[in-house]
């Protein structure tokens, strides 16, 4: 039986790449000073309530461990605790944050979030998404929910600001449960 895999979180700090803990637990079997860590490599174990999670290096990261930051056996760590400081290997960069709604065809009509919050695709876990690629939507159609301070509000399609009255959904631009700002594009549309 293999342990469940958790990927470390990567961010850059100056010239270093920092790998952060993705959970809470006892960090053990750490890679040592001077070892190379590349994408997909095993980078220790996190024990949470006796259960072992195998820690792996995320995509687009390659570097040399620069100093031991923790005891190598059962160091108590939390979410975001820096586990490794890496000197990057040439040509490698840490993965930059979450992909934004990039790549929407320029000039395509975009339906935007009416408020800041967390955008949900479905009305309840296990329910189908309220809108999917290829759906044709009209004014008043519920396309998702926005959660602000634990209050859920249905988002209805409003063909205002030059948006077509009937439109086909080309793409849903925001992941289920992603944080959105007011006016973040949610849907890329084509007139129907």
């Amino acid at each position: 039986m293999s342990a469940e895999i958790l990927y470390l979180r990567a961010r850059t700090e100056g010239e270093h790449v920092l790998l952060e803990c993705p959970g809470v637990g006892l960090f053990t079997n750490a890679a040592r000073d001077g070892m190379a860590l590349v994408a997909g490599a095993r980078a220790g174990t996190l024990l949470t309530l006796g259960r072992a999670y195998e820690l792996r290096v995320p995509d687009d990261v390659a570097g040399i461990v620069d100093g031991d930051l923790h005891e190598r056996v059962q160091a108590p760590v939390g979410f975001g605790t820096v586990l490794y400081r890496l000197r990057p290997l040439a040509g490698a960069t840490a993965r930059s944050g979450r992909d934004a709604a990039s790549g929407a065809a320029s000039g395509a009509p975009l339906f935007r979030s009416p408020s800041a919050g967390r955008f949900w695709h479905r009305a309840a876990p296990g329910e189908p998404a309220l809108v999917s690629t290829g759906d044709v939507i009209e004014a008043g159609r519920a396309i998702g929910l926005v959660e602000v301070m634990k209050t859920f509000t249905l988002v209805h399609y409003q063909p205002a600001g030059g948006l077509p009255a009937r439109a086909r959904v080309v793409r849903v631009l925001v992941a289920d449960g992603a944080e959105v700002a007011e006016k973040t594009p949610l849907l890329e549309l084509a007139p129907e």
Partner: protein, 452 residues
């Protein structure tokens, strides 16, 4: 007594529990989501463990991480606060399994009373009057519709694991019920980690009156009088007071005795609240039991002089209740208002942002003022969590005195930078209906219905 305790919560309740820990010589350890890490209120903790990203389900609701945090911090006990995991019997059981004392009832008692459907069944069996509705949980929207047809509209959907009005929806016909079912389920899933719902006939109006109980592990149980919580909006309590202006002494004694009997019958331990609905005809129905500390526990503390969090910690540490029922003396009148970062003039829209001023004068009399908060000027109100930023309580020998004390404080309070419910509270406290005590859960006294 415990030496070190994990507070598995955030904000105001985390600060409240930390204060009680200090009083008793316990070292408090906090938890935080990534976006809460820089919050100033965490300064009252001796240590802080980061649980995960801002979304509650990835941080404050992650049971394995919370219990692991307690273990690796050497905490012998864990206080769940309110909301989040506080009424989750699986979480209480997980703590018990790992040798961490859960400050609350045993998971078995929580399993019966924490979920509303079995609680109702237990109360029905004990001969306590309950409201007609679904027997048990609803498996589907179709079952909800069938159930509503039997009980008769209007009906109300409630989250089985819920509290504080989250995941509740009032429905007047089948179309509304079908629409509300999915949203209520989603809200409950996000807020409590369980989307299960049940349904009751909606009794129009009435008063929300609840009794505070406290029990130890030796079969001793007391009640600390009632709280009147009928000033509500969408089942969110806005103003709470003790004693209730509508109860006579006989009814007060009767519901206190029912509450203690109910708690004893299920082997309850710790702080709990039995909520009753007093219908317009004076009939009293059991609504639900909250198996945790309540947001509004402060009003009971003011009239009784007891510290309910101290008592919680003492009985959790296998102590005996230091007080018996005859010694519980309730004196004067206490009123609490909840200051939420919501705009009452704009449909109570959430109003996160930075507090530029945050001051409540405490010396204007005639009674005394208590302010429970985790915020100060310069802090920001997070968009990720509950909108409660402070509770302001007044205590005076008479109800009129408590109203005047609270009004004097709130009129001079400075809360700037975010919209809050402060203007609403001024209107409520100064209204004729509130002063006369003639209001119910249907309307907010002194506040136009159109603005709800």
């Amino acid at each position: 007594m415990f030496r070190r305790l994990l507070i598995a919560n955030r904000g105001e309740v985390a600060v409240r529990v930390a204060r009680a820990c200090r009083d008793l010589g316990i070292s408090p350890v906090g938890v935080a989501s990534e976006s809460d890490l820089g919050a100033r209120w965490l300064a009252c903790m001796d240590d802080v463990v980061c649980l995960g990203p801002s979304a509650s389900r990835e941080s404050y609701l992650r049971m394995d991480r919370v219990v692991q945090a307690a273990l690796q911090q050497g905490c012998a006990a864990l206080h769940p606060g309110w909301g989040f995991l506080s009424e989750n019997p699986r979480f209480a059981a997980l703590c018990e399994q790992h040798g961490v004392t859960f400050v609350g009832p045993p998971s078995t008692a929580m399993d019966v009373m924490g979920r509303k459907a079995p609680a109702k069944a237990a109360m029905r069996a004990a001969g306590v009057p309950v409201i007609p509705g679904s027997i048990g949980l609803l498996a589907s929207v179709d079952e909800a519709v069938a159930c509503a047809r039997e009980a008769g509209y209007p009906v109300i959907l409630k989250a089985d694991a819920g509290g504080g009005g989250r995941g509740m929806r009032k429905c007047f016909d089948e179309a509304q019920l079908r629409a509300a079912f999915v949203q209520a389920s989603a809200e409950a899933e996000s807020a409590f980690g369980s989307g299960a719902l049940y349904l009751e006939k909606y009794l129009e109006g009435g008063r929300h009156i609840e009794v505070q109980v406290m029990a130890d592990r030796f079969g001793n149980c007391i009640h600390v009088g009632e709280r009147e919580c009928s000033v509500q909006r969408n089942h969110q309590k806005l103003v709470e007071e003790s004693p209730s202006p509508v109860l006579d002494a006989a009814t007060r004694a009767r519901i206190g005795e029912i509450a203690v009997r109910a708690a004893r019958s299920i082997g309850y331990v710790g702080a709990g609240t039995i909520e009753f609905l007093r219908a317009d005809d004076g009939a009293i129905y059991f609504m639900e039991m909250n198996t945790r500390l309540q947001v509004e526990h402060g009003v009971s503390e003011l009239v009784s002089g007891l510290d309910l969090v101290h008592l919680q910690l003492q009985v959790a540490a296998n102590g005996r209740l230091p007080i018996a029922q005859p010694a519980v003396k309730l004196a004067g009148s206490a009123i609490e208002v909840r200051i939420n970062a919501e705009d009452p003039a704009n449909g109570f829209r959430p109003s996160p942002g930075t507090l530029t001023a945050f001051e409540f004068p405490r010396d204007l009399g005639p009674g005394t003022i208590r302010v429970d908060t985790h915020m100060q000027a310069g802090d920001s109100v997070s968009p990720h969590y509950d909108s409660l930023i402070a509770k302001v309580l007044a205590h005076a020998p008479t109800r009129e005195g408590a109203i005047e004390t609270l009004l004097a404080c709130l009129r001079r309070a400075r809360v700037e930078g975010v919209a809050t419910t402060l203007p609403l509270h001024l209107a409520v406290l100064d209204s004729r209906e509130f002063r006369a005590g003639t209001y119910d859960t249907r309307s907010i006294p002194g506040w136009p219905a159109s603005a709800r």
